[in-house]
Symmetry: C3
Subunit: 474 residues, 3 copies
Amino acid sequence: MHMPGTSKGGLVFFVLVQIILLVLFAFFTDYDSKLLPNKGNATRDEPALVQKYPHFEDIHVMIFIGFGFLMTFLKKYGYSATGFNLWVAALVIQWAILMRGFFAMIHHGGHIGVSLDSMIGADIGSATVLISMGALLGRITPIQLLTMGLIEIVFFAGNEYLNVDLFRITDVGGSITIHAFGAYFGLACSLVLRPSSANAVTGENEGASYTSDIFAMVGSVFLWIYWPSFNSILVDGDQQERAILHTYLSLAACTVTTFCMSALLSKEKKFDMVHVQNSTLAGGVAVGSVCNLILHPWGAIMIGIISGVLSVVGYVYITPFLFSKLRLADTCGVNNLHGMPAVLSAIFSAIYAASATKETYGNQLIDIFPAMKQVGNNTEELEYVIGGYNRTSTQQGTYQLIGIVVTICIAVAGGVISGLILRSPLWNRLDHIDLHRDDVHWIIEEEEHEKKAHHNNTELHERKAHDNLNFIDS
Amino acid sequence: MHMPGTSKGGLVFFVLVQIILLVLFAFFTDYDSKLLPNKGNATRDEPALVQKYPHFEDIHVMIFIGFGFLMTFLKKYGYSATGFNLWVAALVIQWAILMRGFFAMIHHGGHIGVSLDSMIGADIGSATVLISMGALLGRITPIQLLTMGLIEIVFFAGNEYLNVDLFRITDVGGSITIHAFGAYFGLACSLVLRPSSANAVTGENEGASYTSDIFAMVGSVFLWIYWPSFNSILVDGDQQERAILHTYLSLAACTVTTFCMSALLSKEKKFDMVHVQNSTLAGGVAVGSVCNLILHPWGAIMIGIISGVLSVVGYVYITPFLFSKLRLADTCGVNNLHGMPAVLSAIFSAIYAASATKETYGNQLIDIFPAMKQVGNNTEELEYVIGGYNRTSTQQGTYQLIGIVVTICIAVAGGVISGLILRSPLWNRLDHIDLHRDDVHWIIEEEEHEKKAHHNNTELHERKAHDNLNFIDS
Amino acid sequence: MHMPGTSKGGLVFFVLVQIILLVLFAFFTDYDSKLLPNKGNATRDEPALVQKYPHFEDIHVMIFIGFGFLMTFLKKYGYSATGFNLWVAALVIQWAILMRGFFAMIHHGGHIGVSLDSMIGADIGSATVLISMGALLGRITPIQLLTMGLIEIVFFAGNEYLNVDLFRITDVGGSITIHAFGAYFGLACSLVLRPSSANAVTGENEGASYTSDIFAMVGSVFLWIYWPSFNSILVDGDQQERAILHTYLSLAACTVTTFCMSALLSKEKKFDMVHVQNSTLAGGVAVGSVCNLILHPWGAIMIGIISGVLSVVGYVYITPFLFSKLRLADTCGVNNLHGMPAVLSAIFSAIYAASATKETYGNQLIDIFPAMKQVGNNTEELEYVIGGYNRTSTQQGTYQLIGIVVTICIAVAGGVISGLILRSPLWNRLDHIDLHRDDVHWIIEEEEHEKKAHHNNTELHERKAHDNLNFIDS
């Protein structure tokens, strides 16, 4: 029997990775100062509340329940969807704390200070890997997946630093740095790992079952519910409340649109669970980069409607086209949920930035667009910003477009590099027959008892039906 | 092949509705002032935290996971339960922001200011439609459901305005304005749409499967967990903590009682999942209108016990009685979970209001019962209140009873009108054979591969068994 | 037909218990003063927010969704796992408020003041019963389970009072007082109720199905997500943020380790869902007693790695060994998830306490270890503390070890007593054939229609296959 899944070498390697992470944490990190006891004063006067913790927990649900269960839609890949999602995310959140910290050290020096803020950044960063995982779902081994995750986080942290710290683009919901990055990294990797033309048909297991599609709704609906938390966690006060409101309205309008489009584009005017599970969320992505700006409620609804149309059209026309023309597989359709809506969001961010005025935003203008600070020639004492301070609205809008273009380039480069590494003979690769199958990777109880009971039923011999419940006659 | 489900016309209509919502938001709404940047001061000193956001997210889980999954108990209707719940709620939250805003404009004029508070009110209001959906689950098309939702929100917002703003009843948990309203609106609609006597038998698909009942527990338990948030979100400080505590205790006592009653009223002393999924929640409804009052812990437990008995008795005796006598179908038994416990809550609210004293409540008395403010004849400068200020406790108790009676009348009137509209030939209606079936509305992968593999198995031909997992022999 | 499940007497008994709880609440409890209206001042100036409520709701999800769904992994016991978890927890949270309150009255006198804090203590306390339930899952009737819960809470509250109030051990995440207590109480009870040697084989229903294992992931992942809330709810400020961070890192490192160990210890290098569902959580237990101390991030990761190895080794070697040698059944493997990692946590707490210095902790030292307060001989005016004040670090470390030893002794004693009571002929007991089967306790729709349709299929007669979906040919 061949053993295509997990190799002993790969497992030992990731034990070592975990131990290396321990050593790196020991040498390079320590508590952020607010996590240390206040030694100066006998009487403490501190907030009892870790302010953003409830917000963080919402995102934590998105990462581990949301993404994990969204990917259970495949009928024979539910263990892997929930399990490998947990495994890879648990690995990359540790790695992301370090990598994001290393880039921050360029500015601030010293050790990497860890706190709830690090956890927030790490959870958000891990979403890039889970989005890329969606493109490749069922096509790579878990060892390949974890390897890709380690590589991706390096590129992610570099790109995030470049766009947010150096270009000073605005992207509080992460549409550019998370969604576009994760989608195009995963798609580039998928293209490098594409099947030979002989195998370029959808595998027999690449479909849903009735039960698996309802499990996927657990993930999808939790993502839908907590998306306002994802988009609003990095801002405060009125910016935060706008981010919450806009995401809520955009998702609602996107959902109504998605259902209508899903049935209208089908032959029999029936709804497709793929759209319901995924395209309903596109409104959260599409509003991400602009959610804290002054869009007005109708602006958020407009973005939601457009993104719903775009995403369903993507599933119906674009994904099949890419597969048939380029053999580019995209198991979860991340291009339709994350990729294209994120590009849409970046375009909107350019438009809204280019039209932002001091009349509308007051002093908050330079909170949101720090490079629009008017500092004259006095920039030497400020932090280094690529493109400089003193930006006009139009210049800032241009930088938003530069941001998405650079992000896609870095993501594609990183994805191609990852794909080339994963194709090396170091790693086991899955045969066509092993795609989208839990039994390649997991111990599955074969219900010996039932087999025995029915071994005379030759008609049933091949089926090994999975019965949730069968009563013993009493 | 007939196509009873979704018509192209209906889908296009709701695309238009979504566009009309966009236009209405553009013309009639804007940000509440606290969502705008503070332009006066260079230095901002605002709370970093959108205070009620975690509370709101709890309710958001109840609406989209709680109600959606509670309704997955039907064995062949899980896509529709979770999907149409999402669709209709996404539509009516937008509509509810507008309708509730229009009624508020009667008082305050100006535009409709939207904020997190609007989202809270909209999510709570959408519960009425989801409760009514429960009464009709599987019996109407999604186009009919959305139409009903649009109509219901108009009646809901009017009734809420009448009871809370004009009658000044207390109902912080929404037992009267949400639960009673939603249940009796849905039941009235169901009565108008009742089957012809020839079809008045339970459909063959109106039952649970082993898996669908466990999915329903996801919804039920999340409702149970977050119910204290639902009941307490509209109050602050000690009122909020009492609302939380009472809801917690009432639900706990109701749950213990429900299990005992469920088995005691069965033939073989076995538990019924219908009761466990639904009646355990009756304690949250029954305490809703009084949860912020001074009941003492034992008062909450007493209400929980009574509501558990009432709800199980409803499922065992009253629902079958109504169906056999009136052909009144109530798929989820909303009369037992929402209707009767809400009436119970209103009665308790009358009793507790009638016995409320300044000794017990201090100055909070007029926070809770604003119409009990003693203003002498000076009422002309106050807002208009039906029945006037200067109420005694007894008068306030009477108004609580007027509130529930008026609510039920408006709900029934609205439900009848909706039912008559939904019976019009404009809408497709479901035949008896199409009830409670996802395949009427959804694309369902028919597992072509399996069909092919087994097409020689004539014994299995009709069954098309749904196998979650079948291994390829290796 | 024999009726092994629930007896009328048992049901009536628990109706009485619920009524007795009502009476006890009426006589012994009242609101904590902060839940009463502020009668002194006309203008109120109170926090609008019930501060720890979001934290509490996270734990509430762990108790009712987390534990409930984690136990759905058995293929025919999903109704019981989710249902009886709800029932027993709803009962014992009421009882725990009273019992914890009675012990607090020893110190403070007066009535039992209830508030959100009581709810937090009660939810945490109920976890002990749910852990013990895990050891016995499927082997006892619900009436036996509830009886055990009532007994266990008495022992739990006494042990918690002894360790926290009298010994003054530190245990903010409850590894000692909750996890070790619950695990060894349950295992002791299981030992007393162990099968006769003739029946000492794993029952035919003691296994998972494909669907049931994915349901169990809902519970497991929610426990994983909210575990930082469980460990951090009893502390504030920087202690709380450390508790959050350490739990997060420990769980992440434990999860990576668990996956590697799971496959490395299997024959075919495949992953085992049992480990993924359970051992990934061991990091949360193992860091519990020390999570607010100054471990540094690497300390948390180290604890996570060790606990992951320990827990998987427990599942692979120790649980089968205990069953074969002692007939000690442990359905969920609570010794591996809760028992051994909790002992590990206690050992770490002794080490960290013994090395705690004023240099590191400042004045927080005596917040964390109150018995290290240097009071000279002046102890008569302080509260009574076993072992006294003026402790050195080493002494405090010793008390941490005394704490775990005493806890295990009390838990085992309580478990044995419970087991003896449950063996009395007063209670129905389950026959070997009735183990791990919902149909013993629950009404299950036998899909009469399908039976009728297929009654000629004699091959299928015995199977009564559970089909989630079968289409009517159209």
